[in-house]
């Protein structure tokens, strides 16, 4: 279970998170929506322990991410998969080597077993044929799918997706959403999906949280969010320019 309690974070005096609190049950995926540049990725990085909060806690299966010893944090992170916005593939390694990297470093699988697993994963994300190319030689969509393969290849317990479909064409975006759904069915991971693909991604999440002005405004089921009377939620879901949310 992931529990975020009263999380505060400022950067150079700018308050990004102002007391974020929510919980995710084991095996659930939470869709995190909110305005661009308002701290969704920062929140995700707090959960992964990449950023330390000014105040508040992130508790994962009873472990406080802020207070863990480096070794324990590394052990806990071994259970994580994280899909970065830009993929964050290692640019000095080929696609195959990128996906094989966590297996080579963190498991005792033989090279043959790794090969089988990597090719199977690349086949699932439809990047087969590009395995010997470097990230600079493939398209943005392929980078995102290869990064997804790398994140999922170790079958993580906790998956954090940072806008996995942003900037992709609708077909590939749909393909990636289906892929996340099928992997979730198979691996039963607990996850957070930062997304702007509304309502497309609502099919695969159990709850949706709206981050607004540094706080979680609401956590509800996708159906409840879609039929919400709250003017802020409604404006965000419909994408209307008119409403209480003002863009600066």
């Amino acid at each position: 279970m992931i529990s975020v309690e009263d999380l505060h974070k400022s950067f150079d005096g700018l308050e990004v998170l102002r007391g974020v609190s929510f919980q995710i049950e084991k095996g659930e995926i939470l869709g995190l929506i909110g305005m661009s540049g308002y701290g969704k990725s920062v929140l995700l990085k707090h959960i992964a322990g990449l950023i330390r909060p000014d105040r508040g806690r992130v508790i994962i299966d009873g472990n406080d991410m802020c207070c863990l010893r480096h070794k324990d944090l590394q052990r806990l992170r071994s259970r994580f998969g994280f899909l970065f916005q830009n993929g964050a593939l290692f640019d000095s390694l080929t696609v195959y080597e990128n996906v094989a990297f966590p297996l080579r470093e963190k498991t005792k699988l033989s090279e043959e077993q790794i090969r089988k697993k990597v090719l199977d994963m690349l086949d699932q994300v439809d990047v087969i044929g590009a395995e010997n190319k470097y990230p600079a030689e493939i398209s943005g969509g392929m980078i995102r799918r290869a990064a997804l393969a790398r994140a999922l290849v170790r079958e993580p317990d906790i998956m954090l997706f940072d806008e996995p479909t942003t900037g992709l064409d609708p077909i590939i975006a749909h393909h990636i959403i289906n892929l996340i759904q099928s992997c979730h069915k198979r691996l039963k991971f607990t996850g957070i999906l930062v997304t702007h693909e509304i309502p497309k991604t609502f099919e695969i999440v159990q709850k949706v949280a709206l981050l607004y002005e540094g706080k979680i405004l609401t956590v509800e089921t996708p159906a409840e969010i879609l039929s919400s009377d709250d003017p802020i939620v409604h404006q965000f879901i419909t994408g209307s320019i008119e409403g209480p949310v003002q863009y600066h």
Partner: protein, 235 residues
């Protein structure tokens, strides 16, 4: 910065180093610098041969050209110029590489795999720097001494026997060891500063560009400052 170096040494001494990673770094910092070291060594030695001959000849001591070139190179110019060349060629690339990995979240990706970025990025470079610098300096010195002979001996007429014979009389083991100690510390200094600057580089291309410039400038200045202290202690 001190803590960064301490962490690098801690992980270097406590975690097993992947041989392939180390070899890759030695190849990059060391092997790929050979050409530039060869060229700078040759011309530094040739200039020393010319200038040394003209100066020593005024005092009727042209026979001491060999020891002068050798001692200048072994004790001072070899380690310092090699370190400056490696800073310019490999140090800047180290900062840019780590800086780009930082801004494109590749270092975060490493951490999220439960891996230690220090072990993967910093330690192999630090160890490779310590190994490569003395070897490159040795090449610089040998090429420089031959360059000095080319100008002082072949061009200006100092005999081969005198040039190399006097060298053997005046250069002792302490001079060579002093030069090696300098190289070892320069190897640490360059990789430390350049890795640190890359690891904590700012955002975007501008951040990496600033970090790279700072890394080269700070390393170069520190090499000269550290060289002064080493010289005053060692010789």
């Amino acid at each position: 910065m001190g803590l960064f170096l301490a962490r690098a040494f801690f992980y270097a001494s406590t975690t097993p180093l992947k041989f392939s990673n180390l070899l890759k770094e030695i190849q990059f910092i060391g092997f790929q610098s050979i050409l530039v070291i060869f060229l700078t060594g040759a011309f530094a030695g040739m200039v020393l041969g010319l200038q040394g001959f003209y100066t020593l000849n005024r005092f009727g001591s042209a026979a001491l050209l060999g020891p002068m070139v050798a001692l200048s190179l072994i004790k001072e110019l070899g380690p310092v110029l090699t370190a400056l060349m490696v800073t310019g060629r490999a140090g800047s690339a180290i900062t840019a590489e780590i800086g780009i990995m930082r801004i494109s979240e590749q270092i975060d990706a490493l951490e999220l795999m439960g891996l230690n970025p220090f072990r993967y990025l910093v330690v192999p470079k630090l160890v490779a720097g310590i190994i490569a610098l003395p070897l490159l300096t040795a090449i610089f010195n040998v090429v420089g001494i031959l360059g000095g002979y080319l100008t002082g001996g072949k061009l200006l007429g100092v005999g081969e026997g005198i040039y190399f014979g006097e060298m053997a009389n005046y250069v002792d083991m302490q001079d060579i060891l002093g030069g090696i100690y300098k190289c070892l510390t320069f190897g640490v200094l360059i990789t430390w500063v350049c890795c640190y600057k890359g690891y904590y580089s700012g955002f975007g291309a501008e951040g990496v560009s600033k970090a790279t410039t700072q890394a080269v400038v700070i390393s170069s200045v520190l090499i000269l400052i550290w060289d002064y202290f080493m010289t005053s202690i060692l010789f």
